[in-house]
Amino acid sequence: MHRTRTIAAWIFLAPALTAITAFFVGPVLAALVLSFTDFDIYTIADSSNLRWLGLEQYRILLRDPLFWRALQNTLTFVVAGGSLTVVVALGAALAIWGAARKVQAFLRTVYFLPVVTTIVAAAVVWRAWYHPRVGLLNVALRWAGLPAIDWLGNPRWAMLAIIVFSVWKNFGFHMVIFLAALQSIPHQLYEAAAIDGASRWQQFRHVTLPMLRPALSFVVLITVIGSFQLFAEPYVMTQGGPANATLSLVLLMYRNGFQWWNVGYGAAVAWVLFALLVVVTLTLSRLRLRRR
C-alpha cells in the first residue's frame, strides 16, 4: 500500500520533474559545459573551431575590467537599491496600516500600481522625467535655484537614477507582503505592551519588528535575488551607459551571449552570477536560522 502511494506520487511529480529537467537542469548543465569552451560565432560555422578552455575561461573573465565594473555596479545596486526598497516598502506598509480602512484600500492600490505596469513603458516615462532640460525633476531643481543634473547621462548619477526608478517600480509588492504580516499580528500583544507602559517606538521595536521577522527575511531574500538580476532597467534606460556606469552582470551576459554570440563567455558570466547568488542566499538563510 505504501509502495503504490510512492508510485502515485512519482507519477504526479513526473510532469513537473520532466519540465524542470528539460528546461532547467539540462540547460544549466549545458551552460556549465559551454562556459569552459570558447563557443562563438565561428563555432556555429564549423564545430572544429571550438576550443576547450577549461578554467582559463574564468581566468580571462577575472582579468576583464568590464566584468569587475559590472560586478561593482551590481553589488552597488543590490546593497543600495535592495535596502532602500525594503525600507521604503516597510515605511509605506506602516503608514498605510495606520490609515483608515477606506484610505488604506486606495493607497494600497496606488502603491501597487507600479508593480503591475510594464517596465518598458514605465522606463520610457521615467526617462522623460530624468531629461536634463525638459524633465520634471530638473525643472524642479532649477526652480529651487539648483543646477540641473543630467540624471541618465552623467556616470555619477546614472546608477542612482536607476535605483530610484527600480525602488519605485518594486516596493509595492513587498509593501503588500509587509501589510499582510502587520495585519496578522494579534492585537493583544499591543494591548499588553501598552499596559506595560511601552512607548510607540518600544512597541514597534519589541512587538512589530519581531513579529515581522519571517516576512522581513522573505522580503530581503527576494529583493537580493531580484537585485542581482538587474537587467531591464538599464537595458531600456541607459543600455549600460554612460561610461558603463549602469552595466550589470546580466546585461554583460546578454551582450556577450546574444549580441556578440560569445556564448562560452556569456555562460561563464552566468555561472559566476549563479555561484554568487547561491553563496549569498545560503548566507542569508544561515543568518535567519541562527536568529531563530
Partner: protein, 426 residues
C-alpha cells in the same frame, strides 16, 4: 487505507496524457518544402516589399515576404540559421554580412566585373569577401554634414566648412551666439563620425589582415584627438545638455548647428522641421583634414543575399536582380528614401531634392566600409567605450588608445588562432 479518488478528478489524467501525447506528435510533424519563395526583410524596406512584390510569381514561385523588426533581426536570422529555417532571400545590414558569410549562411559566387562596375566602390568592397560576391548591395547610406545655414551665417560663415580647422573655427563662433547654441551634435553611442574622421585621416582601424588593433597609429590618433577635443572645448553638448530628447526639435531650436547623419534624415527633416526652417537647412560633404584629399565617410546600407539552405536559388537570384534593376531601385527610393546602390539608378532620382542629394552622391563615391570581420560590432563597442572615457577625461588620449588596442587584440585572439590554422580563412 484506500486512497479515495473522486471520479471527476480522473479527467485530469486524460488531459495530462493528451497534452503530453499531443506535443510529442506535434514535434514529429514533417516540415514540408514550401512552394513559396520566402523573403525576410526589415523595417520600411519590408513594408515596401510587402506591397510591391508579395504574392507575385517569380521564377515559378509565389513570393512571400516576412517582416522582421530591425531591433530583433540579427538574433532572429542567426537563430534561424542554426535551426535551418532561413528563407531563400534575406536582407542583411552591411555590417552583418561578414558574420553570415563566416558561418556559411549565405551563398557566395564569383564576380562578374561588368555587373559590379555600376555599384559604388564602397558598396562593392563591403560585399566582396575573399574576392567572392556574397551579397548584392541593395541600397546604400553614408553620413554627411547636415547644418543650419542661418546659424552658420549669423556666426559669419556663408559656406559650410571644408577643413577640420574651419569646422572647429565655425563651431567656436557659433558657441559665442549664446549658451543654448552648440556646434555639433555627436551622440556618445554612435561611432560613425569618429570612424569617418579616421578614414579621412587615412587610418586603417586594424592591421595584419585584421588580426590586431591599429588605433595607436598616428592617423587614427589624429582623428581621435580632433574628435575628443571638440568635446573638451565645449563645442559638443554632452553633459548637462547631452541627452537629446528630440533631435528635430533641438535642431529647430538651434541647440546645435551641425549634425552628421544619414539619408534617412532627409525625409525626417523635411517632415518634422517647421516650415520657416525648410530653406535654412542643407547638407555638405564632411570636412577634411586638409584641402585636396577627397572627403571620406563610412559606407552603410543593406544587401540582399541568397541563403545556402535555399532550394530555389535560381528563382532567388532572379528576384534579387529584379529588385536591383534601376527602375525598381528608383521606385524604392520614392517609396522609402533609400539611396540606390547603383549609379545608373541615380539618374532618375535627382529631381526630388537635388541640392541636398548632391552631398550624398559625392560622399558615396568615397565611402569606405568598416572591417569585414564578425568581431567588428564588439570592436565598435570598445571604440565607443574608450572614446567616452577620453571625452569624460577619465583617461588621457594616449592611454585610452593603448587600452583600446590591447582589448581589441584580445577580441581578435580567436581570429588569429583560426588564421594560423587555416591561413586562407576566413
Amino acid at each position: 487505507m484506500q486512497a479515495q479518488r473522486p471520479a471527476e478528478q480522473r479527467w485530469w489524467w486524460v488531459l495530462v496524457a493528451g497534452i503530453t501525447l499531443g506535443s510529442a506528435l506535434g514535434c514529429h510533424r514533417a516540415v514540408e518544402p514550401s512552394p513559396a519563395l520566402r523573403v525576410w526583410a526589415m523595417g520600411k524596406e519590408a513594408e515596401y516589399l510587402s506591397t510591391r512584390i508579395h504574392g507575385r510569381m517569380i521564377g515559378g514561385y509565389r513570393v512571400e515576404v516576412q517582416r522582421l523588426p530591425w531591433s530583433a533581426a540579427h538574433e532572429k536570422l542567426l537563430t534561424a540559421f542554426v535551426a535551418g529555417t532561413l528563407p531563400d532571400v534575406v536582407q542583411l545590414g552591411s555590417t552583418w554580412l561578414p558574420e553570415f558569410v563566416a558561418v556559411g549562411a549565405v551563398e557566395c559566387t564569383s564576380i562578374d566585373q561588368s555587373v559590379i562596375d555600376d555599384f559604388f566602390p564602397g558598396a562593392v568592397e563591403g560585399n566582396l569577401v575573399n574576392n567572392r560576391w556574397c551579397g548584392a548591395p541593395w541600397y546604400v547610406d553614408t553620413r554627411v554634414l547636415f547644418y543650419r545655414r542661418d546659424l552658420l551665417a549669423r556666426a559669419g560663415f556663408p559656406l559650410p566648412p571644408q577643413t577640420w580647422d574651419q569646422w572647429r573655427h565655425a563651431m567656436r563662433r557659433i558657441r559665442q551666439l549664446g549658451p543654448e547654441h552648440y556646434g555639433l551634435l555627436a551622440p556618445l553611442d554612435e561611432w560613425h563620425l569618429l570612424v569617418a574622421l579616421a578614414f579621412q585621416a587615412g587610418a586603417e582601424l586594424l592591421r595584419d589582415r585584421d588580426q590586431y588593433g591599429n588605433f595607436q597609429s598616428p592617423e587614427f590618433r589624429r582623428a581621435f584627438s580632433f574628435y575628443v577635443s571638440l568635446f573638451h572645448e565645449g563645442l559638443v553638448p554632452f553633459e548637462g545638455q547631452g541627452q537629446v530628447a528630440n533631435v528635430y526639435q533641438d535642431f529647430a531650436a538651434g541647440l546645435f548647428t551641425f549634425y552628421v547623419t544619414g539619408p534617412w534624415n532627409l525625409g525626417e527633416f523635411r517632415r518634422r522641421l517647421p516650415g520657416e526652417l525648410q530653406n535654412e537647412w542643407a547638407t555638405a560633404v564632411l570636412p577634411m583634414p586638409e584641402l585636396g584629399s577627397p572627403s571620406v565617410s563610412v559606407m552603410g546600407g543593406a544587401s540582399l543575399a541568397v541563403t545556402t539552405s535555399s532550394d530555389k536559388r535560381d528563382a532567388a537570384r532572379e528576384l534579387i536582380s529584379y529588385l536591383l534593376s534601376p527602375e525598381e531601385l528608383t521606385h524604392l527610393y520614392h517609396a522609402t528614401g533609400d539611396l540606390p546602390a547603383r549609379r545608373s539608378a541615380w539618374r532618375h532620382i535627382g529631381d526630388a531634392d537635388p541640392l541636398r542629394l548632391t552631398a550624398f552622391r559625392t560622399q558615396l563615391e568615397h565611402a569606405r566600409s568598416t572591417p569585414k570581420i564578425p568581431e567588428w560590432e564588439r570592436i565598435a563597442g570598445l571604440l565607443l567605450r574608450y572614446t567616452e572615457l577620453a571625452v569624460r577625461k577619465h583617461l588621457p588620449v594616449d592611454t585610452a588608445l593603448a587600452l583600446l588596442d590591447a582589448e581589441t587584440d584580445r577580441v581578435l585572439a580567436k581570429r588569429r588562432w583560426l588564421l594560423q590554422r587555416t591561413p586562407t580563412q576566413p
